[in-house]
Structures are given as C-alpha cells and as structure tokens.
Amino acid sequence: MTYIAKPKLHHKDIPTNALGFTHRDYEGRISTLCAGCGHDSISAALIQACFELSIEPHRVAKLSGIGCSSKTPDYFLGQSHGFNSVHGRMPSVLTGANLANRDLIYLGVSGDGDSASIGIGQFAHAMRRGVNMVYICENNGVYGLTKGQFSATADKGSKSKTAVNHDAPIDLVSMALVLGASFVARSFSGDKKQLVPLLKAALSHRGVAVLDVISPCVQFNNNPQSTKSYDFVRAHNEAVNRIDVIEAKAEITVDYAPGEVVTVRQHDGSLLKLSKLQADYDPRDRGKAMAYLQEHHARGEVVTGLLYLDPEAEDLHAALGTTKRPLNTLGVRELCPGSKMLAAINDSYR
C-alpha cells in the first residue's frame, strides 16, 4: 500500500523529545504487511524506543536481509539510510557498514527464515565477532512471503494447513548465549511494555545486542497449535524481569528494595534497572541463563526479558584497534604512504 501517502499533519500538542522531534519524525512509509502482523508492532516499538532515547534518526543505519521482517526497515525511521540486502546475509553487510563508519547506530532486522535457516552461519559469526549492533529477529516460525512453509524455529510437531513439522526447532537465544553475544533478550511483539525498554537497553549497549522477538504471523501461523501464536505466547509467557532504562543524564535513584532489583550500568553511563520477576534469575550469569532457558523450555514456557547482559563488553572495533575516526572519512593524506616510502619498499625487493 505504498501508494497511500502518509498525512504529514499531526496534533499540535503531540509530545516532543529532547531533540524537539515527535514520534512522527521516526516513522517510515506505510507498511505493506498484513493487518495484525506482529512485525508492525515491532516497528512501532522501535519508533517509540528511538523517540524516547532522542536518537537523531539520520544517525541510524537500518540493514536487513530478505523476507517479511526484512521489509520493515522501510516502515520506520524514514530519515535513516536503509539497506535491504540478500537473504540471510544482513550480518555481513552490517559488519562491513559498521567497519566503514563506527559513528552510526546499526540496526539489523531479520527474521527466523533469514537468521535461523539460510543465514544461520552469518548469525553465528556476528555473535562471535561482537559487532556493535542491535540484531532483531522477528520470529514467527514461518516463511510468510512464500506463503506459510515452516522455518527452522518452528516447533517439532507444529502443523500447517498441509504438513507437520518433524524437525527440531532452533532456539536463537540459546545459540546467541553459546556464541558469545553480550546482550541477549527475548520478547513478544504483543508486549510493548516489555519490548520498548528492551530495545532502548539494546540500543545503548556496546557490542552485539540480540533480541529474539516472537512476532505472530496472522496469515500462516497464528493457529491454536502454533507456539508462535498470540494466544500461546500470552498464555505461556514467563518474563524473568522488567526493565527500566535510565539515561545517563537523568538523576539515578534506586528505590527498590534490595533483592528485587538488579541495576547494571552500561558503558554509555545509562543505568538498567531490572525488576526481578523470577527471584532466582540473574542476567549477568551466562551459564545459569542457559540452564534456566533449557529447564523452562522443557516445561513449555516461553522465557522472555533481558536474559543475559555483559555491560563491560567490547566491540569489534576495540578488537581490531581501529581508529576513532570513521574509516570512510579518511582520505589520501591519511591513507597513502607516498612515493618516498614506495622507493624504500622497492629497495626491499631488490
């Protein structure tokens, strides 16, 4: 429905953020996804998170692969450059973009087909490398654009109109934990209260922040048997915590009773206040997070919330020792060693 222009008018009292932007300034084109699609809720949550964090929209680069989820970067942050690349390869394209200019905020949007099937290799290696990015997987367990085939995250035994899935599902969250991601979260497109703060925390994280967001496909996978349906996730959602992101400049007061709250300061100075919903859950313990996930998955529960966080994580640029100046701003003066040096180089080959 791209032919319908979005009206530019808005209410005069619409709230503005620290930059004077309204949330309308963070919108994109009108979505062409199905009415009720979970992905549109995620786009809305992203708009909200960027608005609340007062991010300059043009300082974000949005990259995606192929599929319904990968179309969404056109539907938010219209003032940002976007790149809808090839199927399953968003992580490598984003890695290159990030290497070229470390000063932008990199948002990678993918789906379960894109990330868990064709692109599982690139997913895995992006986790290992710690590219500074937010990696959102809009997970609906199904290939939407090709009309309803199972994806690699579909549960064993789940049914479509024509088939039963015999393959074991891939849990991207568990994979991310094993592979060394420094920020791992799961959420649900239908729970904006949880999703928006998680996105804000992810956007302020240094290193790879991965969010597996269950995002029901109303067209092909919202049936009663599906573990990726609205009803199932609502009924089995086991949130481990609720998160508040307090920006660095805000006054930080801790008013929770000890034992109920975990506070974590991120590298940019922002403070994450995690209200514990599960008394025994500590998101700073990778090993326990993995065990917790396995146990609860076996009980048929969908564990959500901020599952793991390493606030001290370094990113790929730190590992490579790259200059603080974006590489794409360096010119011949900074990069070319010149003819005098070449004469010496020639000499070493004689």
């Binding site: 791209t2 300059e56 929209p57 043009h58 300082r59 680069a61 970067p73 056109d74 219209g78 003032q79 940002s80 450059h81 976007g82 790149f83 809808n84 690349s85 090839v86 390869r89 992580p91 490598s92 394209v93 984003l94 890695t95 290159g96 973009a97 990030n98 290497l99 070229a100 200019n101 000063d103 932008l104 290799g121 690139q122 895995a124 290696h125 490398r129 640029h317 490579l320 020792g321 790259t322 200059t323 603080k324 590489l327 794409n328 360096l330 010119g331 011949v332 900074e334 990069l335 070319c336 060693p337 010149g338 003819s339 040096m341 070449l342 004469a343 180089i345 020639n346 080959y349 004689r350």
Partner: protein, 610 residues
C-alpha cells in the same frame, strides 16, 4: 654426449619435498643471480599439501631478459627420491644432474646422455657440529646452494651479503649458514672443478627492477589505493594477498601517535560473508576489497548481482587457479573470465582488469578502487597463480604524489542543504552514473532505501515494466561509460606491415614478448594487442578489423575472452583463431611461437594452393 654449455642462459629446476624448508634457499639462489645483474624468472610448482608431497622450483636464467617459462631443464637439483625418475627424464640431453651422493645409487638410475654431479649433502650436513637434526635438514638446502655457487660461478660476496640480509641481527645464524655455504662450495670446487659448463657471469641487465610477487604487489596497491576494509576467506592462491595487506598495513597504516589502525581486516566465515562485508563497507563509503579465487567467485554470485543492481562499489581480486570445481588448486589458469564478467543471475556485466605482472597488479589495484567508486559497481582484478604467487622481475612500483582518490559522485550535506535534487538512480549527467549519499549525511535529506529489488529513479520500490527498463537501460549506459574509463589496451605493431594480429592478456605477457622475437627470427610478423580491461574499448574491434586473422591467446580451454569479444564487439568468429594453453602450467614462448608459426604457415600454403 656433448655437455650443455651456456653463459647466463639456462634453466635450473629444484626437485624438493614439501615442508623441507627448501623454499628460502631456492629463493636465495634466484636472488644471487639477480644481484649479479642477470635476469631470472622463477616459478614454484607445488602441490595442495603442507608436508611430504613433491614440490619444484624452476629458475630460468636469461641474460636476454626473457621472463616467461622456457620449458625444458638444463640443470636438475634432484633432492626428492619420490620423483627421481621423472626428474632425471625431464633433463635436456647434455644437461646436468646434481644429487645427494651420500648413499650410492645404482647406475640404472642415471642416463648416459647427462652429466652427473654428486655432492654428499646429507653427509656434509651431518658434519656440522652443534646442530640438531631439524637444523641439519634446513642447512642441507644451504649446502646445495653453496655447491651451486661454485658450479655456476657466483661471486662469493653476493652470496654472503644476501645471507647477511636474510638473517639480519642474528649473527649466530649468519655464521652457521655461511659455514654451510662454504661446505657445499668447497666440496664442489674440489671434486667437481670444471664439470659444469653452465655459468653465471656478471651483467647489467637487471637495472633498478625489483623481484616481487603479484599478491604482494596488489596488496601494496590496495594500501596505496586507499583501501581501509578487507574481508576475506583463505583460499589458494589468493591467501597471500590478504596476508600481505595485513603485513603492509601493520607497517604503513598504524597511526604513529595513537597507535590506532587506519584499516580493518576481517577473516570471514566464508566467501559469502567476505563479499557481504565488502559491499556493506562500500555502501557506507569505505574503500573495501576481498581476495579470492574461482570457487570463492562462484559462492559470491548473488552478492555481485546485488552490488551491480544496487550500484555499490567493491573491489575483488580473483587470483585464478585451475578449474572447474576444486580443479587444480595450485596450478594456474585464466579460466574465470566469463564467470566474473557476467557474475550473478539476470542481466549483469562487470568491469574486469587484467594486469600483466606484479607491477601492473600494483597499478591496477589502485585504479580498481577509483573505478569502483566512480562507477559504483564491483571491479574485478583478474590475476592468476602465476602472477600472484611467484616472484617476478619487474619495473619498480611507482606512485605520483599529486594523485588524488576519485571518490566518484557523492552528494554532500552542503549540496543537500542547498536543495539540490537527489534521486539515487537519476542520471543527471547523461553518463549513466547517478549520485549517491552516504548514510548519516543529513538530518532530513538524502536518505534512501537500498535494495536488490527494482526501483524508480528516486529509489522507490517499483515493479512497473517501464520503470524497470528505464533503470536497466541506464545501467547499460553506465557500462558504456565504463568502457571509456578503464585502462586502454596496449597495441604493438610489428617492424613490418602485418596481416596477422594477436590478442593476449594477463600473465601471458612475458611468454608473448619472447615468442614475438622468435617469430621475427623466422620472418613471421605479428601485431599485438594486450587487452587490459573489460568492457572492451573500440580499439579492440579496430585492431581485429585491421587484420585478416587475429590469434587470441589464452590460458583456458574454452577461449573465454575470444567469445566475449565475438559477442560484445559483434565480430565474425571466423576472423579469430583461438590458441589455448590450459594444462595448469604457465604458458611458454615455445608454445605460442610454435602454434602461431604452424598456423601462419598453414594459412600461407592454403593461399598458395588457391
């Protein structure tokens, strides 16, 4: 039997076992001759193996300066029992066989028509006191270098200065190696005096030329050309290019004050991720490249289509090896030409550059980055194993300090602020090249959505036929512009008016140079055109039309460049004759001269008969 006798004109071949440490002694051998002012061409012939399999190193000594492979062997240094029989058989009649005489060999293992030179390398190395077995193995190589220096008449101080250079700062090693040199030298001088009539005599034919491998030179070209991002995946024969880039960046691109790196190198998980990273960086305005070989190019196909259609700069070094499939991974070919030219599904075409040697690999590497950004498209530098992994004697690398990088058409924040119309795929200048913006350029203007799907001039998604065709036609116009920007072919006219012409490219150059001289001696005259790029300039079809028949000389089975010329330049295939050498060894002057002479004579006879 007359023993071969020659000054500064012979071929030496070393038959070694992979992993025995012979490579550095062999390279030292070649450098000794160069230091005496005599040109050499050296080639590694090695297996896809780390230890145990046979490996050869061939050095052509050519006072006249011919740098192609000659074919044939005049002096065999036979150090590998596994390949003894074929190594002995390969010698020219009257040639010399230098071998380890520590253990006696039955007479049946030799030939009557060769000169046998025995030196007990193992026994000599065992006599080196205070060494461990591994050291003695390595020193055995130095001992044969010492023996050769006596047999061929190297100047002693040349050997000594090169040993000193190689082990600079390690005095103990210098002494030990010089001792090994002396052992071999003195044994040969005493026992084999006058036995070898192949000699190296000081000359002045090397000049200021350098001895460098193409991968090394191309990596330097990438440094000088301003590449900041490299993503790669190990594959023979391209690996040493990425590794050389790493090495050169560490010495040339680290900020002296801050210690920060002005480069980023990623060893990717596969070739697909490598090219994805390169394209991401190119999209975001950094000069980026990958180095790979045929199988990698095959894997990268989908991304090449994206970069072509979404118009993103990228530089790809294809160090070609023997295909298809895994093929001959350690042998050379020019067999990825079509694969690269038309890489990816749909109607695609790409810019290719064909350097002839390491020097031109340096030059065209730097040019490739300018072209990629000017044309906003992938540019392939089509090298091969022969250029990439062998040291070649070539002109010194040159750089003009007034040279600026051509960053192409990038609309700036100021231009956007001033209200300049920005359509990502709008042909403003009529050359088919649109303007691009870099992410983050301006708060409210210049953002666009990059995609591999069809789009209109303002980057809006569209599957309308007319919109699609408009864009595809502009891409064709852009390719036409590319033909005017790429390096022009190099034409050389024969001394006399020639009815025949020859087209060649890449590593065929040195063999071609020599073949032309041989043909001239036979009274056969040939104009030549060395193609340096695709798309072809008009000079290619002009050259063909100016000759009755044109040979197209290539190192592949299917005459790939010939077919591209026929199709792209609308040439009658009957005008072209394919001369193809594709057994995995570098093409030789003998092959070219014989093939050309045979066909020219045949055509002459046919005419006479008519």
């Amino acid at each position: 039997m007359t023993p071969l006798a020659s000054v500064n004109d012979f071929v030496v071949k070393f038959a070694n076992v992979n992993g025995s440490g012979s490579a550095s002694a062999n390279e030292l051998f070649a450098r000794c001759i160069l230091r005496m002012g005599v040109p050499v061409a050296s080639r590694n012939i090695f297996p896809s193996n780390i230890q145990g399999l046979p490996t050869w190193y061939e050095v052509r000594v050519s006072g006249e300066g011919w740098l192609g492979r000659r074919g044939g062997v005049d002096l065999m240094v036979a150090l590998n029992p596994q390949t003894w029989d074929r190594d002995v058989a390969e010698l020219e009649p009257g040639g010399y066989l230098l071998y380890d005489s520590t253990k006696p060999m039955p007479p049946s293992k030799f030939r009557d028509d060769i000169v046998v030179l025995g030196v007990p390398f193992t026994a000599l190395s065992n006599s080196l006191e205070g060494t461990i077995p591994r050291e003695r193995q390595l020193l055995k190589n130095v001992i044969y270098l010492g023996a050769l220096s006596a047999l061929l008449g190297f100047e002693p101080d040349v050997v000594e200065s090169l040993i000193g250079k190689q082990f600079k700062g390690k005095d103990k090693l210098i002494a030990l190696n010089m001792k090994a040199i002396a052992l071999g030298h003195d044994y040969a001088a005493k026992h084999l005096a006058g036995a070898c009539a192949l000699k190296v005599v000081r000359s002045d034919k090397v000049g200021d030329r350098i001895f460098i491998g193409g991968n090394d030179a191309a990596a330097l070209g990438a440094v000088y050309g301003g590449a900041t991002v490299c993503a790669w995946y190990p594959i023979t024969p391209s690996t040493s290019l990425a590794e050389a880039f790493m090495r050169h960046c560490k010495s040339l691109r680290v900020d002296k004050e801050s210690g920060e790196n002005k480069f980023a190198i990623i060893q990717a998980e596969d070739e697909i991720a490598a090219i994805g990273t390169v394209i991401g960086a190119g999209w975001n305005g950094a000069r980026s490249f990958t180095a790979t070989s045929g199988p990698g190019i095959s894997l990268m196909q989908e991304f090449f289509g994206l970069a072509y259609f979404a118009e993103i700069p990228a530089v790809v070094f294809d160090i070609q090896r023997g295909g298809p499939s895994t093929g001959m991974p350690t042998r050379t070919q020019q067999s990825d030409i079509m694969l690269a030219a038309y890489a990816s599904h749909g109607d695609t075409k790409h810019v290719l550059l064909f350097p002839e040697d390491p020097r031109e690999s340096f030059e065209l590497a730097a040019v490739a980055f300018d072209l990629a950004e000017r044309l906003q498209t992938p540019v392939f530098v089509m090298m091969d194993l022969d250029i990439g992994m062998n040291d070649w004697l070539c002109q010194p690398l040159a750089w003009d300090d007034s040279r600026q990088y051509d960053r192409g058409k990038i609309m700036t924040a100021d231009e956007l602020e001033a209200g300049r119309d920005f359509g990502r795929y709008l042909d403003v200048d009529g050359d088919g090249i649109p303007y691009r913006t870099l992410p983050g350029v301006h708060p409210t203007r210049g953002a666009y959505f990059t995609r591999g799907t069809s789009r209109d001039r303002y980057a809006r998604y569209s599957e309308e036929g007319a919109v699609y065709v408009d864009n595809m036609q502009r891409l064709l116009r852009k390719f036409g512009t590319a033909a005017t920007l790429v390096p022009a072919p190099v034409r050389r006219n024969a001394a006399e008016t020639a009815r025949f012409g020859a087209i060649y490219y890449g590593s065929t150059s040195p063999a071609m140079d020599e073949a032309l001289a041989r043909l001239k001696e036979q009274g056969l005259h040939l104009d030549t055109l060395r193609v340096r790029a695709f798309p072809f300039s008009d000079a290619v079809s002009d050259f063909i039309h100016a000759h009755e028949q044109v040979f197209v000389i290539e190192q592949n089975r299917d005459a790939q460049l010939l077919k591209m010329i026929v199709n792209e330049c609308a040439i009658d295939p009957a005008r072209l004759i394919a001369l193809l050498h594709y057994d995995g060894t570098p093409i030789t002057a003998r092959f070219i001269a014989n093939a050309v002479a045979e066909r020219m004579t045949l055509l002459g006879r046919k005419e006479a008969a008519e």
